[in-house]
Symmetry: C2
Subunit: 136 residues, 2 copies
DNA sequence: ATAATTGCAAATGCTTTGCTTGTGA
DNA sequence: TCACAAGCAAAGCATTTGCAATTAT
């Protein structure tokens, strides 16, 4: 199972302040993909003095350390989630905004092949599906 | 072959002003993926009075009419290209910023399947590969 | 004629940053 | 202790918008 963000900070030598611990804990306990504003609201419930600038600085710090992932889905602001052990992509419900994670190794392989055929080593990728729920 | 933007505007009943014609022509003649600033510089060479607000308004208008496509690649501002007849995705050279278009029908099919398996009808998607050139 | 479009500058929304005070190792 | 982090407000950047003047049909 994926370790919590606080442990990962210790591993990577990221200095832990009260604010960072709180943001880390809040993100680790979130199963959704909150944006900075939402995150700020959540941590504010515990410590109302925390500033949004700190939240911005912290998620960026965590991202650069590879501890969290940033997503810029179409038509919404940047969202963050804790980095998991296994890579996954996202399907976004265009009506509700709900985000569903999925894994598809065939697509992953094909992406690598496409890149190689074009003479490139694949270093990163972005795959997002936008869909509307099929009522059954 | 894909028609030029001006013809498409006529088809779709998009009112054509001098400024729009110039922006349309400039985009049709571009084989790359310029951002608004770049586009503004290109049209300014022909008509120096054209404002960047007009460029912003025009690309948005064209996009909403389905005549051009907007791309928000990682780490750069919004880029635009004329919509082609055949859908394609992009590989971005992480060193040079060069953008390479590609088509892969296997991936397209798999995306649709993934969405359906999750109970969704695929209405849109985004696939971007980021790679570094393999020297041979 | 007149509804739509332009140019300009001001406003917006998200994000970053300078600076002073506070704090973790 | 003292380099680094936090809070605040100001700045930055891409993009949008209100308004008066202009233009396409």
């Amino acid at each position: 199972m994926t370790k919590d963000i606080e442990s990962k900070c210790l591993e990577k030598g990221v200095r832990l302040t009260e604010q960072r611990k709180l943001i880390a804990k809040t993100m680790s306990n979130s199963s959704d993909h909150p944006d900075v504003d939402e995150l700020h609201q959540r941590v504010s419930k515990v410590d109302s003095r925390i500033s949004i600038a700190t939240v911005y600085r912290t998620v960026k710090l965590f991202e650069e350390a590879g501890i969290v992932e940033k997503h810029d889905f179409k038509g919404s602001k940047a969202r963050y989630e804790q980095a998991k052990d296994e890579h996954h992509d996202h399907l976004i419900d265009v009506s509700s905004g709900e985000i569903i994670e999925f894994v598809n190794n065939d697509i992953e392989k094909l992406q690598k092949q496409v890149a190689e055929k074009l003479g490139y080593k694949l270093v990163d990728h972005r795959l997002e599906l936008y869909g509307s729920k099929i009522k059954k």
